[in-house]
């Protein structure tokens, strides 16, 4: 769960990480009344990156300009996202911009500090040799010598080093205590008065750990279909093709999408019903897919814990209840395959055993429907 910048900064404040003075406004009038002393910067609160390039960051030097800028940000979508909140902050006098983050390195199975003296730009554009990667051992945490190593790499003036070490250790405490996947400050500003200030805040919390963080406000940016899928514990991702896909297992669902692409088709969605899915769950999955109006449906089941007869029963039940709105191509092998195929055939459906044959068929159907 990615947090909005203002929520990330609230967390920073709680953890003693200095942030600019600021207020959140939900209307131009509120922005004007916020009583922020110009010059200020107004930042649209959306979760998309490249917000600056999308026109989501504006500067203002008078109260009138503040109101006008808030009006602009709140009136039109930025990078496709509607803006409901604007963060108004004091404008910093910047001497240097640094990059600082803590995340998890998958290969090392450990947290890592990422730091660069080239802050303020997309970290992807910073050359690898200009980025320090400092792995951490969770049993040890972030000792002050590790913080000093990072401070030296960034060539900080010695009077700033103790302050920086405290900031980094606080950031690590936040990272661990809030189950973050990523905490990123870009840029971490050194002001002309020699103060360290986190000018931005990107915080991503691990979804699997949300159960132990009731204190965090939930940020939801999912479609209706994604919300419904979540309710049934289905892994669902909307895509932009025209062939609906229902499969079991993340790997095989991905491989199904790839096989469709190989034969010139494009999937409307990724939907993994998981292991041992019940009839109700499969029926809910079919409803979600049909609501997205694909031209055809590809059901690809490799029965292990999931039973072919359960999936067949669900298909037949949905067919009886609502009818099937588009042609359905089924590939079904594995546990209780014979019974599954028998159920399908008794109800005017059929199944392939080879995935690539079935994929070719459904691509052909989708093309002819176009």
């Amino acid at each position: 769960m990615r947090l909005y910048e203002y929520m990330g900064k609230d967390l920073f404040r709680t953890y003693g990480i200095p942030v600019p003075q600021g207020v959140v406004a939900t209307s131009p009038a509120a922005a004007e009344l916020a009583n922020m002393k110009p010059p200020v910067v107004l930042k649209a609160q959306i979760l998309s990156g490249k917000r600056g390039k999308g026109g989501g960051i504006l500067f203002a030097s008078t109260p009138q300009e503040i109101k006008a800028a808030a009006e602009r940000l709140l009136s039109a979508p930025i990078n496709g996202y509607r803006v409901n909140k604007v963060l108004i902050e004091e404008r910093l006098d910047i001497a240097r911009e640094l990059y600082l983050a803590i995340t998890v390195n998958r290969s090392l199975q450990a947290p890592v500090i990422l730091a660069s003296a080239q802050g303020g730009m997309d970290i992807e554009e910073v050359p690898a040799e200009a980025i320090l990667t400092r792995p951490l051992e969770v049993a040890i945490g972030l000792p002050s010598y590790a913080a000093r190593e990072v401070a030296s790499f960034l060539a900080l003036p010695s009077e700033l080093k103790p302050e920086f070490a405290a900031l980094l250790q606080n950031l690590y405490r936040l990272f661990r205590e809030k189950d973050a996947e990523l905490v990123e400050i870009n840029p971490l500003v050194i002001t002309t008065n020699g103060q360290l200030v986190a000018a931005d805040a990107k915080v991503i919390i691990d979804d699997d750990a949300l159960f132990r963080h009731p204190e965090l406000v939930r940020v939801e940016e999912v479609s209706e279909a994604e919300a419904k899928a979540r309710q049934y514990d289905l892994a669902y991702v909307e895509l932009d093709g025209d062939i609906g896909v229902l499969a079991n297992g993340a790997g095989i669902t991905m491989a199904t999408l790839d096989t469709l692409q190989y034969y010139g088709g494009r999937a409307r969605n990724f939907l993994d019903i998981g292991g041992g899915a019940s009839v109700e769950k499969v029926a809910a999955a079919l409803e979600i897919i049909f609501a997205s109006r694909p031209k055809a449906l590809f059901v690809n089941i490799f029965g292990g814990i999931t039973r072919c007869d359960d999936v067949a029963t669900a298909l037949v039940e949905v067919k009886k209840r609502h009818g099937l709105p588009v042609p359905v191509v089924i590939r079904m092998v594995g546990t209780n395959e014979e019974e599954g195929v028998r159920i399908l055939r008794a109800n005017g459906l059929d199944a392939y055993t080879r995935m690539e044959e079935a994929a070719q068929k459904v691509v052909e159907i989708a093309e002819n429907a176009a």
């Binding site: 290969s107 199975q109 969770v138 691990d206 750990a209 297992g249 790997g251 991905m254 491989a255 292990g304």
Partner: protein, 289 residues
């Protein structure tokens, strides 16, 4: 031989009295696995499929000396269950549970390293040495002994390819599930190293997917250290960036972990990469001749 587990590997089942624990204990016993004990707090003294149940891992270890443990516990309790097993001296942990918090996995891996224990998963289907023993949830009927070692990040896709191999007359030595999470224990390199040394394994199938850099690291390792033929299949050729494709780990983040980068790295290391899962057996047969 085979790798990681053999017919004499003794196994503990943590969470043996739950629906999944019970069902898979029966399946493992059917396959020939030496399941010697189970645990379930408050259920000590019971039996599941003839296997004695204990309240704590320590008691089970004192009585039956299992070397491996398989975890069927809710994700929220995964870390503690793993710690309990590692503290009691278990040397191989197979963590089936999905949705274990990332920071819990970090702590599990850190403690396992300190204890010199191997971890498979989280979010793995386990490991099976065909015809001898399995510690996992894979369907028994697909796995026949043979010369091919398989290592996979995904379960059903692994079964699909093992099924295709079997249809082509190729059995498997050991099939290893790495797990679909971002942070997992054994990686491709660890497993490849063991396959390279296993006299029964003549060729290796690597089943990867988008996200992370495990396949790229495997490619570098293969180039240097693996003499046996390797065939790979990578899932996610059509996956858009920034979307999590079912597995927590299957996501292209900040331009890294793409299909193209993985395939390029593997091909440069001399690995044959199949474009479709069904191509794996034919590619393998050419190399085995």
């Amino acid at each position: 031989m085979a790798i990681i587990i053999d017919s004499d590997t003794t196994v503990l089942v943590q969470g043996i009295t739950g629906y999944q624990g019970r069902f898979h204990t029966e399946q493992m016993l059917k396959y020939g696995t030496r399941v010697v004990a189970g645990t379930s707090p408050g259920k000590g003294g019971q039996k599941v499929a003839g296997v004695p149940v204990y309240d704590t891992v320590r008691e089970a270890v004192e009585q039956h000396h299992p070397v491996a443990s398989i975890l069927f516990v809710p994700a929220q309790l995964g870390k503690e269950a793993a710690f309990e097993a590692l503290e009691a001296g278990i040397k191989l942990l197979v963590i089936i549970s999905e949705h274990i918090p990332l920071h819990d996995s970090l702590e599990i891996m850190s403690f396992a390293r300190a204890k010199g224990a191997k971890v498979l998963g989280p979010n793995t289907f386990g490991v099976i040495s065909s015809g001898r023993s399995k510690i996992g949830i894979m369907p028994n009927q697909f796995f026949q002994p043979g010369p091919v070692g398989v290592v996979s990040r995904s379960g059903t896709l692994g079964y699909e390819i093992v099924g295709a191999l079997r249809a082509a007359g190729l059995g498997t030595s050991t099939v290893v599930g790495m797990g679909g999470d971002r942070v997992v224990g054994l990686n491709f390199m660890d497993v490849l190293r063991e396959f390279e040394q296993d006299p029964e394994t003549e060729a290796i199938v690597l089943i990867g997917e988008i996200g992370g850099t495990a396949e790229e690291e495997a490619a570098a390792f293969i180039k240097e250290k693996v003499g046996k033929p390797v065939v790979a299949y990578i899932a996610g050729a059509s996956a858009p960036p920034g979307k999590r494709m079912g597995h927590a780990g299957a996501i292209i983040e900040r331009g890294r972990g793409t299909y193209a980068a993985k395939v390029a790295a593997l091909r440069a290391a001399g690995v044959k990469v199949a474009e479709l899962p069904q191509e794996v057996p034919s590619l393998l047969k050419k190399l085995l001749r």
